[in-house]
Symmetry: C2
Subunit: 303 residues, 2 copies
């Protein structure tokens, strides 16, 4: 079975079981009560395990200030994934032209203007602009969870355009940042293995755009900045990343002017579980009926 | 105190207390753990009370198919509120031009193209396209909750651009739809009064665009299609809608071809609690320290 066939097969099974509700757009789905419940229970398990290190807890909506967005290099490195939010700010006459275009089946979106917001590309993006200034000696650790957008329409049910991540971000010295990433790589593997998922850690790279991006990807791998935990989802041959662990160096500390107490630019690291992907991996492994999942998994997730 | 002063005062108090985390964009905030917890507990209370009528439960992300969106008249009636999601689909050369514009501080958003998705304007919008076909005799009742976007930047902390609604939608005959709206108007008032909020029901209208919109608003009020429950939030003089109750007639049944068993176009009604607004009203009424809220409120919300 080709990978495309595997994607289509699992996607069809999920839709037939009522777990995924198609929207007509690849990678955008409604979720059934059961699917949502698995996500919520796993999310709470992540909160409980993360609480062992007493993070601050913040929640951001799926939008980010455009001004803050522009201070990052996201548009330079991932333009193909962005979501820019546009609206109508014209007068009544311009509105009539807009509606005329819509009625004729023409592209009415060209009559819109950019708003002050962008779709959030990763749950930690809205946090950094709020952290400008000098960190305490112990640095900061933050628990974040929310929706993120990535414009990559796909038939792979695990590659959604809009999905939730539960992240833990660390700001501090290079040592504090690397320690956080490595702590979570170990804990994340332990947690997912404990839920019966056959995860394995791999060195990874981000999907940087274009030819320049290929150089960046090689560099990121050579410096082992990014790891992922991969698990079988649609396919047991081509695995799917269900969690990622990233050391950013000064990539966010620099544009948002975040400093350690000794005046150095703060380094950061984040780890994130892809909540829909973890749920999809659990449904693949244990079946669609959560009442029949192994007792230890049901107990851990308080199902 | 003018209403603008009242908005600024409550907004500043919320930010100083750490409950709201400013993003730099009016109406877009991060929320503290305590704020989020009140929302989650109220949301679960709503689920419990809604369960008395055994709704189906579905969860949609904050995006809607553009094709489905275009089947509604939202662009005709609320163009000022829309969120159209755009991305970059060009090649490397076009990307260089985009980045050049960004570096020069020019408007790089003009180099983007529309995607297949729109921001969801109300939580029930993604549901209707999935309901095409013939309803069962008893109609359908659905529990929905999620983020919605409305492009209306404001200093009023209760007027967010992105916020969560918990909705109950009814599809069926005109009688079934009206009964649903009236049932929830009574239950919603009882629930919010029980939490100590001084709510009162009022006939309301949607913020239709332009001069034609003013005619639509008058017609909507004359037919008493929409009610709201208003409560003091930033101001005790100018109240804020914290829940709305709408009878749509065949407004969604028609474009999405939803029929009753006898072949008539389905009518619909929805009610929605604005979760951030209810939380803001509770903080205003009972103070910022939830440990000091009245015992009966803490018990109802399982705080």
């Amino acid at each position: 079975m080709s990978i495309e066939e595997a994607y289509n097969k699992y996607r069809t099974e999920l839709i037939d079981a009522g777990l995924l509700i198609p929207s007509g757009v690849p990678g955008v789905y409604g979720l059934s009560d059961r699917f949502e419940h698995v996500i919520e229970q796993f999310d709470q398990y992540v909160t409980r395990r993360g609480a062992e290190r007493h993070p601050e807890v913040m929640r951001f909506p799926p939008l980010l200030s455009r001004e803050s967005y522009q201070r990052t290099d996201h548009l330079d490195t991932f333009p193909q994934l962005i979501g820019s939010v546009h609206s109508f700010t014209g007068n009544e006459k311009e509105h009539l032209l807009l509606i005329d275009k819509k009625m004729k089946g023409a592209d009415w979106s060209v009559g819109l203007s950019k708003t002050d917001v962008m779709m959030t590309p990763a749950v930690c993006y809205p946090f950094y602009p709020t952290a400008t200034g000098t960190l305490p000696t112990e640095g900061r650790t933050v628990d974040l969870r929310g929706f993120v957008f990535r414009h990559e329409p796909s038939i792979d049910p695990a590659r959604m355009q809009i999905f939730r991540m539960h992240e833990f971000v660390r700001l501090g010295t290079p040592e504090q940042a690397v320690e956080h990433r490595d702590y979570w790589l170990k804990l994340g593997e332990e947690m997912l293995l404990g839920l019966g998922l056959d995860v394995k850690p791999v060195v990874a790279n981000d999907p940087f755009f274009g030819r320049g991006g290929r150089v960046m990807a090689v560099s990121q791998r050579e410096q082992t900045l990014k790891y992922e935990l991969e698990a079988p989802v649609a396919s047991t041959e081509k695995l799917t990343a269900v969690a990622s662990f990233n050391y950013h160096m000064d990539h966010f500390g620099l544009p948002f002017d975040i400093k350690t107490p000794d005046g150095e630019v703060a380094h950061s690291a984040c780890m994130g579980f892809g909540l829909e992907r973890v749920a999809l991996a659990l449904f693949k492994k244990h079946g669609f009926d959560t009442a029949k999942w192994p007792a230890n998994v049901r107990k851990t997730l308080e199902l």
